[in-house]
């Protein structure tokens, strides 16, 4: 059962999301927060698997709340940023802060459900094309060359490229003709070397450093 907490200052959005997710087998909404400041205590108490996080909230915003929760909880829950617009600068900030992905408020109910399942499972990238676009756009806008990536082995580099292309662990295993367990080990060591929390951040780092280039 995937346990979900919803943080959004709009009651209509919270109840809507709750009803959509609760209607789904295998997903249950265990709590709601109306402000970023309420998220950490609530998450500590309920230990959810996934937190749906609105970015703009009156007190503490979703980016800061994401950082707090990820720093404080072990194991950290997956954070799914909920946003009105895709081209919102703060979506990228949230992804850099460690959010596992983002969800558009206008997404279809099935897409919302799938997004929650996907980040809870954690072995593939949510909306690879959109994440790629965000990373490329923002890396270009920052206009600086970030620190190069730490040395990866050839195999690890290959896996980071495939991750960035949006392949799941299973697909990567198939492509490289190795077992999914091996891929999992490699992914873990890539994340460890890059010092990032999940594959979304790894992909952002790959694009920002120029390790992977947009085609």
């Amino acid at each position: 059962m995937i346990r979900v907490v919803i943080a959004d200052d709009e009651r209509l959005v919270r109840t809507g999301l709750r009803v959509v997710l609760d209607a789904e087998p295998g997903i249950t909404v265990v709590g709601e927060a109306a402000d970023g400041a309420e998220v950490l205590p609530l998450a500590r108490e309920l230990q959810p698997d996934v937190i749906l996080m609105d970015i703009r909230m009156p007190g503490l915003d979703g980016i800061r709340a994401t950082e707090l929760v990820l720093d404080a909880l072990q194991p950290p829950p997956k954070i799914l940023v909920v946003t009105t617009f895709e081209n919102d600068d703060h979506v990228y900030e949230a992804l850099r802060a460690g959010a596992a992905g983002f969800l558009l408020k206008r997404a279809r109910a099935e897409e919302m459900v799938q997004a929650v399942r996907l980040v809870a499972h954690g072995d593939s990238l949510l909306f690879p094309a959109a994440v790629r676009e965000l990373a490329v756009h923002h890396a270009a806008r920052r206009g600086r060359t970030p620190a190069p990536l730490p040395r990866l082995t050839e195999r690890e580099g290959e896996i980071l490229r495939l991750m960035s292309a949006g392949l799941t662990n299973g697909e990567i295993a198939e492509r490289l003709v190795v077992s999914p367990e091996t891929v999992k080990t490699h992914v873990a060591s890539v994340l460890g070397k890059l010092g990032v929390r999940d594959r979304t951040q790894a992909v952002i780092a790959a694009y920002e450093s120029g390790f992977v280039r947009p085609r």
Binding site: L12, G16, V20, P58, T84, F85, D89, R106, R108
Partner: protein
């Protein structure tokens, strides 16, 4: 060789020649006037062509100060700028690695700009006068010399040359091309000099550049604000509606009660969003209607109209205004108008059609705006979290003022904004606010 030829008779040289001839034409009135002024100084009845030529040459420097003075008129800059842009080919090409250069298209307001325009004008008419004069005299002379060398004119040509040069008169076939070359070179050099000086003399002054940059920043800030308002109002409302509709659809059979509630929420949210869209589009229309920038919206002078509109929408506003509001700086007056507008829109959105009391007055160097209304019976109040309130908070902050909003013990809602009258506005940091 071909580049030299190109520089002398190419398309660029031809355009620049037209520009210089225009300068010569502009010189004419001043030059005629100086000739007239010089006439009394000449001995009466003098018909010596040498002296007359001298008088005409002296008239040239004499006409320049007059040209300089008239070029101080502000409109000269855009006119000369337009001419230079069209004809002074290459004036705008960036110098090696430098930025693209520009000529100002607005009238010269500051004295620095006028002086520079004046210097440009003098240079233009002086070089133009020289090139025009040469253009008028050289071709006939060349034809004359060629005809003379072919013997068609008998001894006339040779005699003229002897009169000018004495014993050692060079042959016509040497002088004719030399004269042509001199004309073309003078034209090319003058044109190049003008092209080189144009950006410095006709370009915007540092102050004007700064002002233009500030205006661009203000326009950008305004666009950001409009984007934020659309985002905050319509964007959020529509996403709430989408989510509610999705939820209602999912539980239509299993939880009809929720579905009904959701439908009602959708209706209300959509209605409020349309109203808000109307407001934002109104802001846009104001901008385009008077063709001016953002911050040129209505001021407190338009308060009566606003109050009337709100009355039509169901919020009857009882207004109390203190003295001196008409003398406020326009920016402050505009911000105050927006605060009132957003405050009243909030009343309509959260409390519905209820009467409101608005008080505006100056006290202790601050403009006080107080808006009070009874809380709507069946609407949930959200302390401190409303969207319009955030806009008001941002406006107050941008004027270094403060604001307070919340329910009162007597069951009413009160919004209080205090804006210092003389504070310099805070820098526009709004672009970095979370959406």
């Amino acid at each position: 060789m071909s580049t030299v030829l190109g520089a002398l008779v190419g398309r660029r040289a031809a355009l620049r020649w037209v520009h210089l001839v225009l300068g010569g034409a502009l010189l004419m009135p001043y030059w005629l006037l100086s000739t007239v002024l010089l006439t009394p100084a000449l001995p009466r009845g003098n018909t010596d062509p040498g002296q007359q030529l001298l008088a005409q040459l002296i008239a040239l420097p004499l006409s320049l100060p007059m040209a300089a003075v008239t070029a101080l008129v502000p409109m000269v800059r855009p006119l000369e700028g337009a001419a230079a842009r069209a004809l002074c080919a290459g004036a705008l090409a960036p110098r090696r690695g430098g930025p693209v250069r520009e000529l100002a298209s607005s009238p010269a307001r500051s004295w620095a700009a006028r002086r520079r325009t004046s210097a440009w004008f003098v240079l233009h008419v002086l070089l133009g006068g020289i090139v025009s004069g040469m253009s008028l005299t050289v071709p006939p002379t060349v034809l004359f010399l060629l005809a003379s060398s072919s013997g068609a004119l008998g001894h006339t040509g040779r005699d003229t040359l002897h009169r000018a040069f004495g014993e050692y008169a060079p042959p016509e076939l040497l002088i004719a091309p030399a004269l042509l070359f001199l004309l073309l070179t003078t034209n090319a050099l003058s044109g190049a000099l003008l092209a080189r000086c144009a950006p410095a003399l006709l370009g915007p002054t540092p102050d004007e550049r700064l002002a233009a940059a500030e205006q661009r920043a203000a326009e950008l800030a305004h666009r950001n604000r409009l984007a934020r308002e659309l985002h905050d109002s319509v964007g959020h409302a529509l996403s709430a509606v989408t989510i509610q509709a999705a939820a209602a659809g999912r539980v239509l059979r299993s939880d009809p009660e929720f579905a009904a509630e959701a439908l009602q929420a959708i209706e209300e949210t959509a209605r409020a969003a349309v109203a808000e869209l109307d407001t934002v589009l109104g802001l846009l229309r104001e901008d385009t209607a008077d063709g001016r920038r953002a911050d040129c919206g209505p001021t407190l002078a338009g308060l009566d109209t606003l109050v009337r509109q709100m009355g039509l929408a169901g919020v009857r506003v009882e207004t109390h205004t203190g003295p001196g509001l008409g003398d406020l700086p326009p920016e402050l007056s505009r911000e105050a108008y927006r605060v009132v507008q957003e405050g009243l829109t909030n009343v309509l959105r959260h409390a519905g059609p209820v009467p409101a009391r608005l008080r505006l007055r100056l006290s202790g160097g601050r403009l006080e705006v107080d808006l009070e209304n009874p809380l709507g019976a069946d609407r949930p109040s959200r302390p401190g979290g409303g969207r319009g309130l955030r806009g008001i908070a941002e406006r107050a902050e941008s004027r270094r003022g403060d604001y307070r909003a919340g329910p009162q013990p007597d069951g009413s809602w009160r919004l209080s904004v205090r804006l210092p009258v003389s504070a310099p506005p805070a820098p526009p940091a709004n672009a970095a606010q979370p959406h």
